[in-house]
Amino acid sequence: MSRFAPEDLEPAERRTHELLASVPPRALPLGFRDAVMRQVAGRRPTAWEWVVAAALALPSLGFLAHQLTTHGDEFSAALNNVTAAASADTAEAFFFIDGATVLALVLVGVASLIAAHAAIAAPSRGAAR
């Protein structure tokens, strides 16, 4: 009989208890604890990443859309100049772009990176559940 037995063990259970209690416990797999800790540590909510991405991207996209509607002809002219310069031998292409538009484009890029990280991280966190 095992040294450890339930307090309310009944006589009819003794034989089965002897058999099953004699099965030695298997040791924990190597790295089990670290794997659990990694999953616990990595289980941060991704909501904030989406919020930050949206906060950066939406105003910027709105601004870019506004710029496109009000100065669309300038954009298309600039693009044509760049295309023409790229297809010709000359390296000269004239176009004008203001700082706010560049900043909006950069912010959209940063927002895309954050959103991409949230999208990649979410499935792996979900799979760990």
Partner: protein, 163 residues
């Protein structure tokens, strides 16, 4: 929590799933679930059975998802013959343990869970009932049938080996 209960949780999952890889996944899942549900734990109650319940549920869910099969309970058998001690006692004992584990793996998951908690983790009837989330009477019925089914499997294995 992992240091203290890791071994027991892993072994509960191992005996229920009968698969070391699945047991590892289920045990990890149990700890993650327990960590996330710590605010629901009542400190007035023992922690072990609460955690074992989560581990048992994770393991039974795994079985339901991947290895759903039912085994009919057979009639009560004669108890298996006890193997005499001898100079090769260790080898015989290992063989006996392997037979017990193999016979147990043939039982339905719910019976494996009840036997594991009761006889391998030494829980009382009430603790088993709490861990499985079923009434005390149902636990006793499950255990009675599980023991009977285990004896049938073991008797068949011993008979098959001697034939």
């Amino acid at each position: 929590m992992v240091e203290r209960y890791g071994g027991r949780v892993f072994n509960i999952a191992l005996r229920i799933t009968a698969d070391a890889d699945a047991a590892k996944d289920c045990a990890q899942e149990a700890f993650i679930r327990a960590y996330r549900a710590l605010h629901q734990y009542d400190p007035g109650l023992p922690f072990g059975p609460w955690l074992y319940r989560i581990a048992t549920n994770a393991s039974l869910n795994y079985i339901q998802r991947w290895h759903a099969h039912q085994t009919q309970v057979e009639e009560l058998p004669d108890r298996p013959e006890k193997i005499e001690e001898g100079p090769e006692a260790t080898a015989v004992r290992r063989e006996e343990v392997a037979e017990v584990v193999a016979a147990m793996e043939e039982l339905p998951p719910a019976y494996r869970a009840a036997l594991t908690l009761r006889h391998m983790q030494q829980l009382s009837y009430q603790e088993v009932a709490d861990a499985l989330g079923i009434p005390l009477g149902t636990v006793k019925t499950h255990l009675h049938r599980a023991r009977a089914a285990l004896k049938v499997r073991l008797a068949a294995r011993i008979k098959g080996r001697s034939a």
